[in-house]
């Protein structure tokens, strides 16, 4: 016989069906000729049964599993860009610059240098959202958050900040958005009614929008499309007839910024584009949407800078 006796650990692994095949054969061979170990096997079998019985007594009352709520906020398949984690901080700074620039009160008609207009966000850590808002009143910002805002307080604080901000700028400034996972926080941080718009349901953006060259995008808008500098960007449109340009930029895996813009004379892009649940934000006629994970303090940081 190759092994002397078997230990309890092996017996439990064997009874749990977790002993590797070769070891199981050796153990069975030994059991075949060792009544003492056969006796122990039966003891351990009874012990396992008893322990399971006790654990079953301490099982939670049977309840149906609630629907998979996180699925509702699951991001659409991300555009295939490489992850840009290191850019997260840069994006926050860009965001702040853009907001500062915006509040300086540029006239809506002045052409905006592309590198100054940006909405950005940062994706180093999950949950929450901040976004900003680009320039002149001809643009808008909208954001969307995937992850729950952890603290209602935080949300309330941010909302208050956003509200102050709104008074300063006199235009539709965003306030933080909260996923369905934190309804309580949402209730607490009741939005200042302004430009917070729940977009109508629609097919995923990527599915319906075709990529167009930058020249085409410029031709549609008459100006350089707004985008975050130094980030890969893709311009898209839904159809040749629709004069809305969508700029998609990936900040990090899972975090996508979408800017929708129409020619200045035509107002803000409509709401047909987002998925349901997606909250839209407008300033002037730019629609900004940030999708994905953002660090909780981005918005507060930003608002502080702006103030």
């Amino acid at each position: 016989m190759s092994i002397s006796h078997v230990d309890d650990g092996q017996l439990h692994a064997y009874l749990d069906g977790e002993l590797p095949q070769a070891e199981a054969w050796r153990l069975e061979a030994h059991l075949g000729e060792c009544p003492a170990c056969r006796g122990r096997l039966e003891e351990q079998r009874a012990l396992i049964a008893r322990a399971s019985e006790l654990l079953a007594l301490a099982a939670p009352p049977a309840r149906a599993a609630p629907p998979f709520r996180p699925a509702e906020v699951q991001p659409p398949p991300p555009v295939r860009w490489p992850a840009r984690q290191p850019l997260a901080w840069a994006a926050t700074v860009v965001l702040a610059l853009a907001a500062g620039w915006y509040l300086r009160g540029e006239s809506p008609s002045s052409p905006v240098p592309p590198d100054r207009r940006a909405a950005g966000a940062n994706a180093a850590a999950p949950r929450e959202t901040a976004r900003t808002v680009p320039p002149s009143a001809r643009q808008t910002a909208e954001t969307k958050t995937l992850a729950p805002v952890r603290e209602a307080d935080e949300a309330a604080r941010s909302a208050a900040a956003a509200q102050r901000d709104q008074m300063i700028s006199g235009s539709a400034l965003p306030n933080p958005q909260i996923t369905p996972l934190d309804q309580a926080a949402r209730a607490k941080a009741a939005p200042p009614a302004s430009a917070l718009v729940a977009a109508a349901p629609a097919a995923p953006l990527a599915a319906r929008w075709e990529t167009i060259p930058w020249d085409t995008a410029r031709a549609i808008l008459g100006v350089e499309p707004v985008r975050i500098p130094n980030l890969p960007a893709v311009a898209k449109r839904s159809s040749a007839a629709d004069r809305v340009v969508l700029v998609e930029q990936q900040l990090a895996s899972g975090t996508v910024v979408r800017l929708q813009e129409r020619p200045a004379a035509e107002g803000a892009p409509g709401m047909e584009v987002g998925a349901s649940e997606r909250l839209a934000r407008y300033v002037g006629n730019l629609r900004v949407e940030i999708e994905g994970a953002l660090p909780a303090d981005s918005l507060s940081k930003l608002l502080e800078l702006v103030r």
């Binding site: 650990g9 351990q44 012990l47 322990a51 309840r63």
Partner: protein, 166 residues
């Protein structure tokens, strides 16, 4: 993400609740924590979501227990008392058994308890080893010890009650 999270949700959510329930002893709280763990998984997209969910859930339950302990300091613990409880005998009995098992579980070492609860929640030895840092070969030994202690602690608790009643 290699696995479909919604599918994992269907197959794992009840097990995760069961696992977390033995930590927080409140089914609604356990469900909230499980939901929260899944919500985080949506964001983090972990490689092996199933094991990850149990790790994250266990961490959240630990934080939750600390918070609950702080809040409890100012409250009187209500113990289930079969003579005063208005519930039906059967429910009372179930509740008593539950709290006995709970007491017995609390007498295990944290590692033994963790391994036992993970196994009971349906994780394999490999998954348990990955999560706890134990060698795979040590999982069986740990389980053997944990089961024995659980059964012994439960029996000892029953005996104490008999003595207390006279």
């Amino acid at each position: 993400m290699p696995e479909d999270l919604a599918e994992i949700y269907r197959s794992t959510f009840p097990a995760l609740v069961r696992f977390l329930y033995r930590k927080v002893w409140d089914v609604e709280r356990a469900e909230d924590l499980a939901q929260e763990a899944f919500a985080r998984a949506v964001v983090h997209k972990p490689e092996s979501a199933r094991g990850w969910l149990f790790v994250v859930g266990a961490n959240m339950a630990r934080d939750d227990a600390r918070r609950a302990a702080r809040e409890r300091r100012h409250l009187t613990l209500l113990k289930s008392d079969p003579t005063s409880a208005p519930a039906a005998d059967e429910a009372v009995h179930t509740e008593t058994e539950r709290s006995r098992v709970r007491t017995a579980l609390e007498q295990l070492t944290p590692r033994d308890r963790e391994v036992l609860l993970l196994w009971d929640a349906g994780l394999s030895y490999d998954e348990i080893a990955t999560q706890t840092g134990l060698a795979r070969g040590a999982v069986g030994t740990t389980l053997a010890r944990a089961r024995r202690r659980l059964v012994e602690a439960f029996a000892a608790g029953e005996q104490d009650e008999h003595i207390a009643r006279g």
